[in-house]
Amino acid sequence: MQRETLEVDILIVGGGPAGLSAALRLAQLQKQKGGEPLSIAVIEKAREAGAHQLSGALLDPSTLRELMPDFEAKGAPLACEVQQDNIYYLTPKSKLRLPITPPPFQNHGNYIISLNQFAKWLAAQVEAEGVDLFWGFAGQSVLFDGHRVTGVRTGDRGVGRDGQPRGMFEPGADIQAKVTIFADGVRGHLTKELMRTLQLGEYSQPAQFGIGVKELWEIPKDRLAPGTVIHTLGYPLRQEEFGGSWLYAMPDGQVSIGFVVGLDYKDPLLDPYSAFQRFKMHPFIAGILEGGQVMKYGAKALPEGGWNTQPRLFMDGGLIVGDAANFVNSMRLKGIHLAMRSGMLAAEAAFDAVRADDTSSARLQRYKTLVDESAIRTELYPVRNVHQAFSGGLYAGGMFAGLAMLTNGRLTGDLEGHAGHTRMKTLDHYYGMAKRDIISGSNAVTPDRKITFDKLTSVHYSGTHHEEDQPVHLLVHTDVCHTVCGDEYGHPCVRFCPANVYEMVDNGQGGRKLQINASNCVHCKTCDIMDPYGVITWVAPEGGEGPQYDGM
């Protein structure tokens, strides 16, 4: 089979804030330093800029200010500045306002943004600098020459469900690069391949994640002042579960509302989507949403493990940036500015390495040095243990977080972290044998179709779309689904997937079988993370497919 090849100096995989910041910084360096221009390409699986970008989002503008001091004049889409911070502890029927807003939740000077619009704008700035952005091209696999990363192969198009080429088959292209910057996002499937092949996680703690489920609402305009920020802890989660909500009010009655659940919960019957529905039914929240309507839905995993979970960031011919490297401050619920900064620093290291014609691991290690000297470390190192401490529950974690703030992280040595999926308990362990009958039902919420919705309806509002006639892009490597999983965990994939991808259906012989509705997938990566057996692998479907997160 003949594959097209494309050779560039620097390839950036992923068109989110990290990848686009890297591209923009490279273009700036080119201008500053002159000389033979480097060829730069960005590939992104979404059909258009920002389509797969989902976040709350509050933007700490510190990195943006450095990357582009005139961002306001250039029309950066910052919906509004944060005016008022509120943090509540919810009980099932009531709310307690925290008397002071803890420093990590203070958002004075930050902006409420739509990450979708922000990425669109950033992409336009990058394109204006003459960088080639290839939308709709998913990286399928990493190209290696021994231990050296030499680029990325993009996905084939027009392969049928049976794996055979269809009429419009088009093989993927090999993009060869001197340096490849992996900005493939949270639990990036290429970064995962790198970690496995090159053992990049050898000296790191296991990564930890959460899942964020989000909706965009339009509510009566006078209900919340634009710039109002609300965070909640507590209900419907229990003390043993990590997570909470956000609610950000933007102009024109637009509200970003969402719920994060740590993907290290113990209860195999927990359903993050249902938790979000229950949260919306709380009188406090229902009162805000009533009479409004939901415009958009989406979900995405987010890294929560912090500094000690970053993989080795450099290798021969490759660098890892942004969410793929777990650069998120889970205490402040912020990572966009860290993603952007890591992209900028990777760009600097890559630029010098290509110019010096030495893109070895030793040379690219400079990126790690730059990260260690940067505001990324200043921000993440002191809180490196906080998420790990929450594994002891909300109160222990909260207390630890307070102490970490007071002592600037000097409290203890490194706390050990565990991969979240290993903490899930079996039904027997969690509920005990006696309760088997009680738990056989579903814990889903009956939707009222005004404030709460069933998953399938929500999936529609994610705008996700996939060609049906293509190989299923969620690989389940063993047959545990039909043997032990039902007894042990009660098929948790059906619940942790926020998009109704996994379904246990009647197999026609009195039993049940797993049906994977791959075309519902919103690319959140939760199944790849949280499956207790670790047997699900998310791979990229055909390029250009997936959710359409306008305004998210």
């Binding site: 415009m295 999936v459 026609g508």
Partner: protein, 322 residues
């Protein structure tokens, strides 16, 4: 003047083109002439069919290079015809072919394009084009800016083909002379083929019987088949049926299948998930048969039967056979 670009294949007019003509007549409201254009080879039959509408003229552009569709040839010919005719609006049905070439045409002309229009409205005395946003959650009224012509594609099923006003006599058919220089067409089209044998085009069906999860097993598909036969309808399905392989994927209706707008849509054992509704809500008359009275399908059905489909279907078949 409003120019409608109709679509044909092998001398057979695409039914959706009539919907574009209806939309154009509605927009013109008698105060502007409507002209139709069709591109291809051996178009006399199609042109004659189109001439029945109350329009000023039917123009054909015939050329060897138009025998098989290519975006380059169609954009070239459409741009040339628009330059000759200077219409205020160019209207098209939002078919796959339109999706393929209309954006290029708009870019070539540097004119505004609004796609997937579902209704015509007025805004401050100007025509406004309603189009769905956010997966149909909102409808935006779009007023087009900039110089004419404005390009408009209309959603299939949004306008009624049978609302086309017919002329008292056939409209004149003329042949527009537009050359296609060598080098204009960069694509080489191969003869079209159907991926599957016996493929159906549900979007052209006038009656559809669609079956969903309520049918329970593959053996029972026969019941739906008989019902479809009795109605003289095409058989279609919601997603779970095609997922199970009980019917081929090409018969799937909904957001990941086909969008249809037949005159009669009989939904059998379909609960009406929104993914299914978006694919069929434009149907003229919707009949729903479902055991669950709370099923969302009843919210859009014109006739609803809350009952076991295995009781209703045989009764309907017997009645239809009389």
């Amino acid at each position: 003047m409003i120019l409608v670009i109709a679509e044909q294949k092998d001398g057979k007019l695409n039914r959706a083109s009539w919907e574009a003509v209806a939309a154009a007549q509605q927009l013109a409201a008698g105060s502007m002439p409507v002209k139709l254009a069709v591109f291809g080879q051996s178009l006399s039959g199609v042109a004659g069919e189109l001439a029945a509408a109350a329009v000023a003229e039917v123009m054909t552009v015939e050329h060897d290079a138009l025998a098989l569709y290519t975006p380059d040839a169609f954009v070239h010919v459409a741009a040339a015809l628009i330059a000759q005719q200077s219409p205020q609006f160019v209207m098209l049905a939002h078919t796959y072919q339109t999706r393929d070439f209309a954006p290029t045409l708009a870019a070539r002309l540097d004119r505004a394009l609004v796609t997937d229009v579902v209704a015509l409205r007025q805004f401050n005395g100007q025509p406004a084009f309603a189009r769905p946003m956010f997966q149909g959650k909102l409808v935006a009224d779009v007023v087009l800016d900039g110089p004419a012509p404005h390009l408009v594609s209309v959603q299939i099923g949004a306008f009624r083909a049978d609302a086309v006003q017919k002329g008292s006599s056939a409209a004149p058919v003329t042949s527009a002379a537009i050359g296609i220089a060598a080098g204009v067409v960069r694509q080489t089209a191969e003869a079209p083929f159907q991926e599957a044998k016996q493929a159906v085009d549900l979007s052209q069906a006038e009656r559809i019987v669609a079956v969903g999860r309520g049918i329970k097993s593959q053996e029972n598909i026969a019941v739906a088949e008989q019902l479809a036969q009795a109605f003289g309808a095409e058989l279609a399905a919601s997603r779970p049926i095609c997922d199970n392989g009980w019917l081929p994927m090409e018969r799937q209706i909904g957001s990941s299948g086909q969008t249809v707008a037949p005159k009669l849509y009989v939904a059998v054992g379909i609960s009406g998930a929104i993914q299914h509704l978006v694919g069929m809500k434009g149907s003229r008359t919707i009949v729903a048969i479902n055991k669950d009275a709370e099923a969302p399908i009843f919210e859009i059905a014109d006739y609803g039967i809350t009952a076991d489909l295995f009781e209703v279907a045989p009764a309907l078949i017997a009645e239809l056979k009389k």
